[in-house]
Amino acid sequence: MRRTILSTTAAIAATGLALTGCGGSEESDAGSEGGGDGGGQISIITVDPSNPYWSAEIETAETVAEEMGYTTETSAHNNDPDEQTRLMETAINDDVDGILLDPAGADESVAIVQQAVDAGIPVSLVNAEIAETGLAEAQIVSNNAQGATIGAEAWAEAMEYEGTYVELFGKPSDNNAQVRSDGFDGVLSQYPDLEKVGEEIANWDRQEGQEKMEQLLSRYPDIDGVVAGNDEMALGAINALEQEGMLDEVEVLGFDGNNDAAQAVADGDMVATVLQPITEGTTQAMEVLDEVIRTGESPLEDEKVALDCVLITEENADQLQDFSLEQ
Amino acid sequence: MSPAEKTGAESAAPAETTTSASAAGRVGDVVLRAVDISKTYGVTRALKGVNFDVRAGEVTVLFGENGAGKSTLMKILSGVEQPTAGHLELDGEHVELASTSQAVARGISIIHQELNLNANLTVRDNIFLGREILGARGIDYRRQAEITRELMDRLEEPVSPETLVQDLRVGQQQIVEIARALSTDARILIMDEPTSALSTSEVHVLFGIIRELTRQGVAIVYISHHLEEAIEIADHAVVFRDGELVAAEEAEHIDLPWVVRTMVGRDADYDFRDRERRHGEVALSVQDVTVADPSTGKVPVDHVSVDVREGEIVCLFGLMGAGRTELMEALAGRDELAGGRVTLDGEDLAGRGIGDRIAQGMGLVPEDRQRDGIVQLQSVGRNMALASLRTWVRGFFLRQRAETLNVERSIAQIGVKTEGSDAPIMSLSGGNQQKAVIGKMLLTDPRVVLLDEPTRGVDVGAKGEIFSLLFDEAARGLGVLFVTSDVGEAMTASHRIVVMSRGRVVCELDPRRTSRDEILAAAEGTVPEHARTSAPAETSGPAGHPESTSSTSTTSTTSTTSTTNGAAS
């Protein structure tokens, strides 16, 4: 599905010489025209299209919106509030009919959402919250704390409630890194025989996760388990363990539920991962937006919705594809 | 804050500056005295107990070869460095100058060889940089401009205070430097090579200013490698050698031979006019060459033709702005020709790059050694090998043995004084650096060498060695084309003089039959009556015949200079 038709070298050469952008990437918003009952334009502002997680978010949002008859326009702020402001202002100036935003920072995003609302453009938030209610039509997030809890429970069981473990921590500037870490701790501290001996920051990144894990293994060669704040770091840890031939003895926990992780869980390399219902959340956020655009009324009683995460284990791993469970 | 106020107060009355200066010292009074000054760097004694007076209203000229101790003394006088022993007396009072600002505060200013101006700022801003006059609302620009105007008028260079320094000629910039020094109420002005970038007419203007300043009671300390100029301006001369003050004399008792003799301790001047000459075929032929500067639309070189034969040393004489450097760089292949043809051994060089031309047998020893000549971070050997690396390649790699052998042989033959080919190039004196640059070109086995001001910034002794080397190479068939603005050099060290002025060749002169005045007149554009505009002085067939054998061709070592006593007078 993602096969990019290209003669690789030609693309590079073209870029190099003309520094023209890249053909296909900007055309993702080629939506169906008018029609339907929506017929307007929706701006989708998200975090990082290169990351599978947000990629799924974007794809869901675009698909749902286009099915409703909207044209879409997608951009990414990479968690940079200034960039977010710029993108939002562009959308406001374009007088789009609605904005679906994955906000960059709870406090930082309040003002710009206010600005959109003042301009009469409904905003629906997905995946992260802002520190103010009454502005956005919806704030639909996955319950990271709950997810961390169910993941930790499953992993502790696999550990048989004893042994030493290390934790790989996400990007410290991302609030979710702390929420998940706290969620893990909340569960695991209840088991006195589970001892956390080390914690390293691996910035959500697979290569860093691997490097940090290798270093941790040098320090603690007898480790029994690893909990990681996301799947990429967990997969890096698995690589490191595999190299040392320790994969069979060490239990690894991931988070997010991306395809590689689903594979690793299915293969038995990873105990479990936690699926954030990003497709579900995005769909819901888009539905609210659509409703508001059409009727001016939000279907939600409370704008804040926390969707529960789903535990992915060997049993359901094969049903997981692109962040959604086939049921 | 307070320094600014102070400056403001002082500069508030620039007219008084002069009166206070003259009040401070009547002409002839000793204002600054160096007493038994010694300066040691590590084990090196740069100054050995120097006693030295600076008098109000007089120009004291410091002579000495590079490394004789002049610059060290200047640094001490201007507060850049402190003496290891001895002290300074200002108006008879013992003073210590811990920094340049202290020196400035006591009325001692220095104008450096390299102009220390900010080209992107105006004349006014440069003069008051760091000493801005503050008013109620920030900098008082009007007051500053007023003072600037007065200063520039006093220096007879009435440029607007708002002019950007980059838009001024070098000579004018020099005057801005002087204005800045005067604005600090300088009573003692140290000038380090102030004329090195000036044209002859600008030098005259500068000298006029110096005279005016001395009339106002300012004491001038003047350093220059340009001995004749320095003698002209001197009221009082002191000569340094090897860290010691070896002679002090009043102006009426000094002349060039005396200065040179005292500086180097012997008659080091050279004269190669009578060297044997064998001229062969035309090696380099320059025909109607024109160089245009697309950015300014000027034509610095305008239809110039000149031939250089095998074994011939041709001097291209011209003052600054005559187009000499532009011609040389175009010949070397750096700039495109706007017209004309350059052939080497009959082969047209059009379209060939610098590297190709070197391979073909023609390379340039550039004018600005630091900027264009040497690779500062590398050793003497690496520098000398740079242009001929291709000749020592086998397969992919350098034949390092061959390289080292050739380089060391060249060092020995040329007489580069170095600790070895591995010594950093920057550890060498200017003259030896220049020899290394010339050696680099000679190592390429050239047919013709182009040299742009080959003796700039070089000691008197080393100058003779450099020319001796060129004459030795010429005797073996090398063609030499060198640029100079030194009349003495043109007369004593060439076979033929081609005089350029404003981009054109004025005439060709025979060094044995011309005079200084004639050359200088030609350089200003006046063609001497007897001068031919074409046909080189004399040429003989490829076999050649010795015209004179009065001086033997020795290899150049320190002691190699012609003993002919034809000091350039």
Binding site: I12, L17, S50, N51, N259 | G67, S427
Partner: protein, 385 residues
């Protein structure tokens, strides 16, 4: 030249001086490197004292691998820094070449047909590295032919490369395809590029190969000399016939090649081609070069120093984890070490400059002393005061 000078006997004085100790110049560069070596020694001693596992074979293997990636990039970076240039695009080129390789493992759609071509593993590797070199070539041509500032060009290329990576990966990772399929003839990637011949990770072997090759290139070929001289004084090099533009172009190609190699090795290492791969690698590479004694102003730096510099960073970051320094402080300490290295560099330069000045004065003194001797022997006609 040799023909014209061969018959000349060197003058006595100069022969004597050319026989002076040969190591005086290289001593300077040894001192610069010594700083990195001392740092490395200190780091090793401290961390070994704090944790026994630090010098264990398994940990050394880990360090060797991690260092290798950075060292290879740093060696490429050294080439451009020697030229007073910089290449900020290496990190994204790592990601890009990884993505290219990943895509090639998924097969290449042949235009205008429905056919899909699966190149052999070695072809994929060569193409990917070739893409890295192509990026370098574009950088190099823009910098040398259009005289653009390396900082700007490569900064732009950083974005272009990262963007293309994202285009190629389309928001997903390529993981399973890297294993290849027997039927497609593109297997063996991990078996080769994540292997450990003689117990040493393949990346370390690659680093050794690059180091040896670059070391020969810099010290034994005209190209190396040209590079050092253009970095120190481009105008002088140009007037000596050095093809400065060609040199400039080629070094960026070399840098791109190194990035391509790291891209291949890194996706084999993490067993996946991800869009973030190589993010900020350029900074570590620059740091290694600088710690290794190279001057950002060009003309100064060695292969040995750069490799040591990479080891300093590697040993440091590994050690900080091994002894359990708080993750937040690790970053602070790493940064401090880099600043310290640059500061020491600057201080050293000041000292060297002073020494050179003193030497120049001494030389002048020697000249005049000799002149005095000559004068005396010529018959005491010195001019008196």
């Amino acid at each position: 030249m040799s023909t014209t000078t061969a018959q000349e006997t060197p003058a006595g004085a100069s022969t004597e001086t050319t026989r002076r100790p040969r190591f005086s110049f290289s001593l300077g560069s040894v001192l610069v490197e010594a700083r990195a070596l001392v740092a490395l020694a200190i780091i090793i001693v401290i961390f070994t004292a704090l944790n026994d596992n630090y010098l264990a074979v398994s940990n050394l293997t880990t360090i060797a691998k991690d260092v290798s990636f950075n060292a290879i990039l740093a060696l490429g970076m050294l080439m451009v820094i020697l030229n007073a240039g910089i290449d900020l695009s290496v990190g994204s080129t790592v990601g890009l070449t990884g993505a290219v390789a990943g895509n090639l493992f998924q097969g290449l759609d042949v235009p205008l047909t429905d056919a899909v071509m699966f190149p052999a593993t070695w072809v994929i590797v060569l193409i990917s590295i070739g893409v890295g070199m192509l990026v370098g070539l574009v950088n190099g041509l823009l910098i040398s032919r259009l005289n653009l500032a390396p900082f700007i060009v490569t900064l732009g290329m950083l974005y272009v490369g990262r963007g293309l990576t994202q285009v190629l990966l389309g928001g997903t990772n390529i993981t399973n395809d890297l294993r290849g399929q027997e039927g497609l003839g593109n297997t063996g990637f991990f078996e080769i590029f994540a292997s450990r011949p003689l117990g040493v990770p393949i990346a370390a072997w690659a680093m050794i190969a690059v180091a040896v090759a670059f070391s020969l290139l810099l010290t034994r070929t005209p190209f190396g000399r040209w590079l050092y001289s253009t970095g120190s004084n481009e105008r002088a090099a140009e007037l000596s016939g050095v093809p400065v533009k060609r040199v400039k172009t080629r070094i960026y190609v070399l840098t791109g090649m190194c990035a391509g190699m790291v891209g291949i090795l890194q996706i084999a290492n993490i067993r996946s081609s991800t869009a973030d791969l190589g993010d900020t690698y350029e900074l570590n590479a620059i740091a290694a070069v600088v710690i290794g004694g190279a001057a950002l102003s060009g003309g100064r730096g060695t292969v040995r120093g750069t490799v040591i510099g990479a080891f300093v960073i590697g040993f440091l970051s590994n050690g900080l984890v091994i002894v359990g320094v708080s993750p937040f402080w690790q970053t602070v300490i790493t940064g401090a070490v880099i600043i310290l290295a640059v500061a020491v560099d600057q201080i050293q330069q000041i000292v060297q400059r002073r020494r050179a000045q003193a030497r120049a004065v001494a030389e002048a003194r020697r000249v005049s002393e000799r002149a005095e001797r000559d004068r005396d022997s010529e018959g005491k006609e010195a001019a008196g005061v």
